[in-house]
């Protein structure tokens, strides 16, 4: 017992010191919790709204609800309805409820290609009243990559089939090409032979024919000239002569265009 009744001055008021220490520690813990709660907006007043969807796929409690990229609330929970659809209950901070209106629309989308899935609420029009507590908001699900690929495939598939058909026809045409080329070669060879023959003809026979024709024309001209100079034919043929352009006494400086005569 003598050990417990140590008169060391440092142990004096020990129980009081421990009490104060515990009180300060407890206050620190409470303050930390309050601070975390405030940062997590655990104490912010919230309004519950919901939407109904065919499937709860990709939707989970705690998922962020965003408006124009800002967190405005969370998915509180999911529940089955009587019609086997899913009722998704959202909690939106009251301060943001002024932008959530009756014509607002909630969408399930991914933030980026591999980002988190979030519920994005599109702000409603100014004319529309604010959404009341426990009201339903319209919902649509953005197409996922898989669905997009499915739709794209449905569009591209007929094109692929057409392309196959074109390729088959091209194959058929190409198969016939050698024969066509052979025929074309034969035609070109024949044309070349014809041109060579034509060259021979134009080099030898044609000039002679032209010369002959010219001689005939010149002879004919001489005969016609002789006949035209012979009486009485010469009396009926007016000899061409040079004439002077008229300039009458009433002609103006800028005469009008001569009428065709």
């Amino acid at each position: 017992m003598a050990i417990l009744q140590d008169d060391d001055a440092r142990f004096r008021y020990l129980s009081r010191k421990i009490g104060i220490f515990l009180l300060v520690a407890a206050a620190g813990i409470v303050l930390t919790l309050v601070s975390i709660g405030l940062r997590q907006e655990l104490f912010a007043p919230r309004t519950r709204i919901f939407f109904v969807t065919d499937s709860g796929r990709d939707i989970a409690p705690g998922m962020s609800v965003k408006l124009s990229g800002f967190n405005i609330g969370k998915v509180k929970r999911l529940a089955f309805t009587e019609q086997a659809t899913v009722k998704v209950i959202l909690e939106v901070n009251d301060e943001y409820m002024k932008w959530v209106r009756k014509d607002s629309k909630a969408r399930l989308l991914k933030e980026g290609v591999i980002g988190d899935t979030v519920i994005e609420v599109a702000p409603g029009s100014e004319q529309s009243p604010a959404l009341a507590k426990d009201s339903e908001i319209a919902f649509e699900r953005e197409l996922g990559i898989g669905q997009l690929i499915d739709e794209l495939y449905a569009e591209v598939r007929p094109l692929i089939q057409d392309l196959r058909s074109v390729v088959r026809r091209a194959d058929t045409l190409l198969a016939g090409l050698p024969a066509t080329r052979e025929r074309l070669d034969a035609v070109l060879a024949s044309a070349q032979r014809n041109f060579e023959n034509l060259e021979k003809v134009t080099a030898t026979e044609l000039p002679a024919a032209v010369r002959g024709g010219r001689e005939v024309v010149e002879s004919s001209k001489k005969v016609v000239d002789s006949v035209s100079r012979t009486w009485p034919v010469s009396n009926n043929i007016e000899q061409p002569k040079a004439g002077v352009l008229p300039l009458d006494s009433y002609g103006s400086a800028a005469p009008a265009r001569a009428a065709p005569k």
């Binding site: 100079r229 002569k241 300039l247 006494s249 009433y250 005469p255 265009r257 001569a258 065709p260 005569k261």
Partner: protein, 276 residues
């Protein structure tokens, strides 16, 4: 036998009659062809082509020193330049004819050149120059062959009108009318009548003016000269309007407008519109 002799006689006679006329040299033949091409181009309003053709004809005639051909070609070159609005070039071509010495150009072509020189001076407003060239043309126009003989009095009448000498204008126009009627030159006869009408207008004798214009119109229609028809119709319209015959005047103005429109005579068209 007699038939054979007759046949030989007739054949010999025909052969004698059929003696060939003198054959033109090739250069002259080519120059005539260029001249004809020039006339064709001029008629179709293709003045540059006409000029090129007449200059080629002039070159060919010059190469053989053919005075008559040179005179014709220079007169034509001058006329084309006048139509192109190049008075200086037109005068230069005529001066080559009128200058003495060198290759002899027949006098009637020199008279024609003097007449055209007078015409160019009149168009330029040089009345004194016009009178001087008319006198020279008359002095050269003494031969029997002188085409300008009927045009000279008409041009003198125009000069007299420009000088407000109405009596002299009437006298020259009447002289021109006589000469042109005698020569059977319908176009110049119409010009004489139009000048008489113009003189009557100056005297304020509008009914007489209308009568002259209508006679001129009949001749111009016969000669198919649309430019002159426009002048006759406009003159008639003006004289009728001066007499207060507004409706008839408008009819003549409309006729003038239509004729002017058909030959692209914008000046005539404008004048006709102002009279309506």
């Amino acid at each position: 036998m007699n038939r054979v002799i007759c046949g030989v006689f007739v054949a010999t006679l025909l052969a004698a009659c059929g003696s060939a006329p003198p054959v033109r040299p090739a250069t002259e033949e080519a120059a005539i062809q260029w001249n004809q091409r020039g006339q064709e181009a001029y008629r179709h309003g293709e003045m540059q082509q006409a000029l090129a053709a007449y200059e080629e004809a002039l070159r060919l005639y010059s190469s053989v020193e053919q005075g008559e051909g040179i005179g014709i070609a220079l007169l034509n070159v001058s006329t084309v330049y006048r139509r192109l609005g190049d008075r200086a070039a037109a005068v230069k071509a005529l001066d080559r004819i009128l200058a003495g010495g060198g290759i002899a150009i027949p006098t009637h072509y020199r008279a024609e050149a003097a007449y055209r020189r007078a015409h160019l001076d009149f168009e330029a407003g040089d009345i004194a120059g016009t009178s001087a060239w008319i006198e020279r043309a008359q002095a050269l126009c003494t031969e029997t062959i002188c085409d300008a003989v009927g045009r000279l009095p008409n041009l003198k009448a125009r000069v007299a009108l420009a000088r407000d000498d109405i009596s002299a204008a009437e006298a020259e126009a009447r002289r021109g009318l006589d000469v042109n009627r005698r020569r059977g030159d319908a176009l110049e006869e119409a010009n004489s009548l139009r000048l008489l009408a113009d003189a009557a207008v100056r005297r304020g004798q509008h009914p007489q003016a209308v009568a002259f214009y209508e006679q001129a119109l009949a001749l111009d229609k016969g000669a198919a000269e649309p430019g002159k028809i426009v002048l006759d119709l406009l003159g008639t319209s003006r004289s009728l309007a001066a007499q207060g015959k507004v409706t008839e005047a408008a009819d003549y103005a409309e006729r003038a407008r239509r004729v002017a429109e058909s030959i692209d005579d914008s000046q005539g068209e404008k004048e006709a519109r102002s009279l309506k």
